[in-house]
């Protein structure tokens, strides 16, 4: 190291840092560059609101896919958020610490299971079940929501537990000393204090659900149709990109990039909301 010296090390580090950050920025710019011209040419309103997705005829309305993503993601949240938060609350407030310390890593390990496996279970177990007991093709919004909801559970549980554990013990003790039960303390004091962390976890999970591709392709059906019931088969924005990418050319390909830009923007908005929620918590302290 004497050969390079302090200044040298600093130069190497700054060079690598700038290279890495520049590369990441270039990726973002590349996608925007491929997709934005299409949006200007075709018109953003048309793109988002038209239901005609017929690439061969030059029609690129992604409204059915937008609806599909919204329905499936909303469904995932309806299933995953209450289950996840309930689980997190139970594990941190009503279960002895040592037990929680074992269960939490196990749940986090389950988060590492690849999405294709979840999709597979959806196809082999869930879809036939829905088909037999509820009708429709089985591969549906419902199947997608349930599978996605399960996939985001570990995220919500893990981060919510962290937020709840971060609430100072003195809050709980103050409440209990006034004669409150554990549940009263939990819902009137602890959860309120951990609120922003829990919300951030849900927003993060929504982001993951929106971006999920493989599992959704396997269980949601993939037909380009505006959903009217949860048993309908749908194609999300991500599925659309994946299914058409390998043979799309020209304007078609640009349309797929434009879809990517839309997803990009949505993620950025979600991230901003999440970090605002966290910043509000820090400011309140």
């Amino acid at each position: 190291m004497k050969l390079i010296g302090e200044k040298g090390v600093q130069r190497i580090l700054s060079f690598t840092a700038f290279s890495a950050l520049t590369a990441l920025m270039l990726i973002a710019l590349f996608i925007i560059n491929e997709g934005l011209p299409f949006i200007f040419k075709y018109g953003i309103i048309n793109f988002l609101s038209s239901s005609d997705w017929r690439p061969q005829s030059g029609m690129f309305g992604i409204f059915p896919m937008v609806m599909a993503t919204l329905w499936v993601t909303f469904g995932a949240m309806v299933i995953g958020a209450p289950l996840g938060v309930a689980g997190a609350v139970f594990l941190s407030e009503f279960v002895p610490r040592p037990v929680m310390r074992i269960i939490k890593p196990i749940i986090e390990l389950l988060a590492a299971i690849p999405s294709v496996v979840y999709g597979f279970i959806g196809v082999m177990v869930l879809a036939p079940f829905i088909r037999s007991y509820m009708g429709g093709a089985g591969l549906s919004v419902l199947a997608g929501s349930i599978i996605l909801g399960i996939m985001i559970l570990p995220t919500i549980i893990s981060i919510s537990i962290d937020s709840i554990m971060a609430v100072p013990q003195s809050y709980r003790e103050g409440s209990l000393a006034l004669g409150a039960t554990t549940w009263q303390t939990t819902h009137m004091v602890t959860i309120r204090a951990a609120k922003s962390g829990i919300i951030a976890s849900i927003i993060l999970a929504i982001g993951r659900a929106i971006g999920e591709t493989m599992a959704v392709i396997m269980v949601a059906g993939n037909s380009v149709k505006i959903p009217h019931s949860v048993l309908d088969s749908v194609r999300t924005l991500t599925a659309n990109i994946a299914l058409e990418m390998s043979y799309a050319t020209g304007l078609h390909r640009q349309a797929l990039f434009a879809t990517g830009v839309v997803l990009f923007v949505v993620i950025i908005i979600l991230n901003s909301i999440a970090s605002l929620a966290i910043r509000k918590k820090i400011a309140k302290k």
Partner: protein, 278 residues
């Protein structure tokens, strides 16, 4: 009518406990389901012989290689870049609007769906740069996908090193790089390694970004310019096409075991470092 608190407490515990139990049952069911049909399929032959008949028969050895090489390449590229970037951002620059913007940017990039990285990799590496479907294209794409995560987790780990350690080091006449090398990095290592392990785990399970950049060739790759198929991609193809559900289960079980091993190693490493320090 006001319900006495002890009843609401009991009701709450039942509901919450039920929800937790349901969650755990579902998650355990998934593993059991795959392992029940998949574990019996796994044998030495299965793991180490080549695929026959487009995957309908034979083993999954080429995909094992693929699942090994792609994350390896991704980590080799992303880890040094990520650590250098986070060290530079935390130790060599001041907290300013610029660093906050960079942090927000890396957070956003960490949340970008993998299919978009796949799209980028396909257009940029495979097509424009002409690398074709190859380990190189796949590895580069994966590297950029996990880079933001590594930067963020490394940054958190470095920031968690107590300021007093830095003060002590400087007061003993250390230079900035000496402090980083001898005090900060060793203490931040558990956190950094966790981020790297998470990156590996994610790369092994990744399908969308890989299938469009590394392709899906079942031949054993001879160089990094050859296409390869990972276990995740193989499993997806087998499942989707309905070919040999037996091999599908086997591949899924192997895949899950691989991912679990990586994560368990991460926990074990973290445990090791934390106990060594205190």
């Amino acid at each position: 009518m006001r319900i006495p608190p002890r009843y609401t407490q009991r009701a709450a515990m039942t509901v919450l406990g039920g929800a937790t139990f349901l969650t755990l049952v579902i998650l355990v069911f998934i593993i059991v389901f795959v392992f029940e049909k998949g574990l019996p399929v796994i044998s030495f032959n299965f793991l180490f012989s080549n695929s026959e008949d487009m995957g309908r028969a034979g083993g999954i050895f080429p995909t094992l290689i693929g699942s090994l090489l792609l994350p390896l390449l991704a980590i080799i590229i992303a880890t040094p870049l990520g650590i250098c970037t986070s060290v530079y951002l935390t130790e060599y620059t001041r907290e300013s609007r610029m660093t906050r913007v960079i942090r927000f940017g890396t957070d956003c990039l960490a949340g970008i769906p993998s299919i978009i990285f796949g799209l980028f990799g396909f257009i940029f590496f495979v097509t424009t740069l002409g690398m074709g479907w190859s380990i190189l294209s796949g590895g580069l794409t994966l590297a950029f996908m996990i880079l933001p995560t590594i930067i963020r987790t490394s940054e958190e780990a470095i920031k968690a090193v107590p300021t007093s350690y830095r003060q002590v080091s400087y007061s003993l006449g250390a230079t900035r790089w000496q402090t980083v090398k001898k005090v900060i990095l060793p203490n931040a290592l558990p956190g950094i390694l966790t981020g790297v392990m998470l990156g590996i785990g994610r790369s092994i399970g990744e399908t969308a970004a890989v299938i469009f950049t590394a392709g899906s060739s079942l031949r054993l790759p001879g160089s990094i310019f050859d296409s390869t198929r990972t276990m995740a991609v193989h499993f997806y193809i087998l499942a989707r096409e309905g070919i040999s559900s037996e091999n599908a289960y086997g591949t899924a079980a192997t895949l899950i075991i691989a991912v679990l091993l990586v994560n368990l190693t991460a926990y074990w490493l973290m445990h090791l470092f934390i106990s060594k320090r205190s």
